[in-house]
């Protein structure tokens, strides 16, 4: 793929995604997602909120799965496959159901920084899209921030565009 596209050709504007400071609560992030992404005319997928620090540096992303994990009571999080047979795991959700009103609503008041995925991996606008694909595959990511000069956030590249571009190249071959 010598003539593969650059990240800058596929990236989308960061303002397509809601923004939230890291100290705001999970509950507030949920409100944003409901208002900005789920009830609006446009629906950008993956549904994610970008998390920033006090100086508008990106520090993480918060997707729907991250929010659900953030609401999960701690006793469920500590469970591992070694401790409980797989077929019994979902049974614990009954306890979660009974605790939801109290525990999960309390957990929703925690800051988003405790539920987000930290932004550790980035691409540059002039990187090949295969680099973005590599980082997504090896770090289980669905989107990647695009930084200019390793500092300024200029966009986001999503798995859907990377997949679309790479699959076109495969089908053309």
């Amino acid at each position: 793929m010598a003539d593969s596209k650059m990240v800058k050709e596929l990236m989308i504007d960061v303002f397509e995604f809601p923004h939230i400071p890291y100290w705001f609560s999970i509950r507030q992030a949920i409100g944003m997602i409901k208002k900005s992404l789920l009830s609006g005319e446009k629906c950008i997928r993956p549904l994610a909120v970008l998390v920033f620090d006090e100086k508008y540096n990106l520090v993480g992303t918060l997707g729907l799965m991250d929010i659900l994990k953030g609401l999960e009571p701690s006793f469920l999080k500590s469970t591992t496959k070694a401790q409980v047979p797989a077929e019994n795991e979902s049974g614990l959700s009954v306890i979660w159901n009974s605790l939801f009103d109290k525990e999960s609503k309390e957990l929703a008041e925690k800051p988003v920084s405790e539920a987000m995925v930290s932004a550790k991996f980035f691409v540059e606008p002039d990187d090949h899209i295969t680099k973005a694909a590599y980082l997504m595959i090896h770090n289980d990511l669905i989107l990647l921030p695009v930084l200019e000069n390793k500092k300024k956030l200029v966009g986001v590249v999503r798995m859907i565009e990377i997949f679309d571009e790479l699959s076109d190249a495969i089908l053309k071959a």
Partner: protein, 249 residues
Amino acid sequence: MLYRMKAVIDRDSHQKLYLQLYEILKGKMESGEWTVDSQIPTEEDLCKTYEVSKATVRLAISELVRNGYLRRQQGKGTFVCKRVIPEGLSMFTSFKELMLDAGVVFTTKVLAQTVTMPTDELTLKLDIPDDRHLIYIKRIRIVDNEPVLLQEIYIPHHLCPSLLEEDLEKDSLLELLEKKYDIKITKVQDYIEIESLTSEEGRSLGLPGGSCALLMEQSFYSGENQIMYMRSVKHPERFRFFIELERKG
């Protein structure tokens, strides 16, 4: 004309539905269609009349209650309050905020200069769509090493995106808006009340959580458009306000 009378909700307008309904209902009271002490229609009736949801009606009524136009009586309904806007005396108003110990020099420390979205009550305070990004500024004013004022400021990002890069510890925010970004402020609405400090606000102002402070909420407009909402929590012993009214003409 002092206010704009709108009889119907304009769904193509950028203005939020509850704010349009707020204006309509306010107009009914200011025009005398709804008289003092009369009971207003039920939520259900208002929903049907204006073809809006209960949530929209509730938000509009809550704002009218907050601004002194309506009062709720538990189990009885919602009633029109005595007129809160003075009539017949058209005055220029001059409002100055004075720090006690005039001439004192303060410094500004910016705690945050980042981006967020309208959350919680902010939806009520800012007349912009929920999916619009906001520049969020949190700063503290310090006099003699003592924090005296905690401010949170929200400005629609699209109005002045470069504001994120400005040095707000040195430059005046209002001057930047007017001179650099050409946003002329034509109207400011202030609400002042006493509030109990949250523990975080108390920490910031060096006061115990739960103690009383002055809360000033300000909505800044440029023409018809709201361009900023500012929430200031002030140390109760360091400020006073001066209002001067001067008859027009």
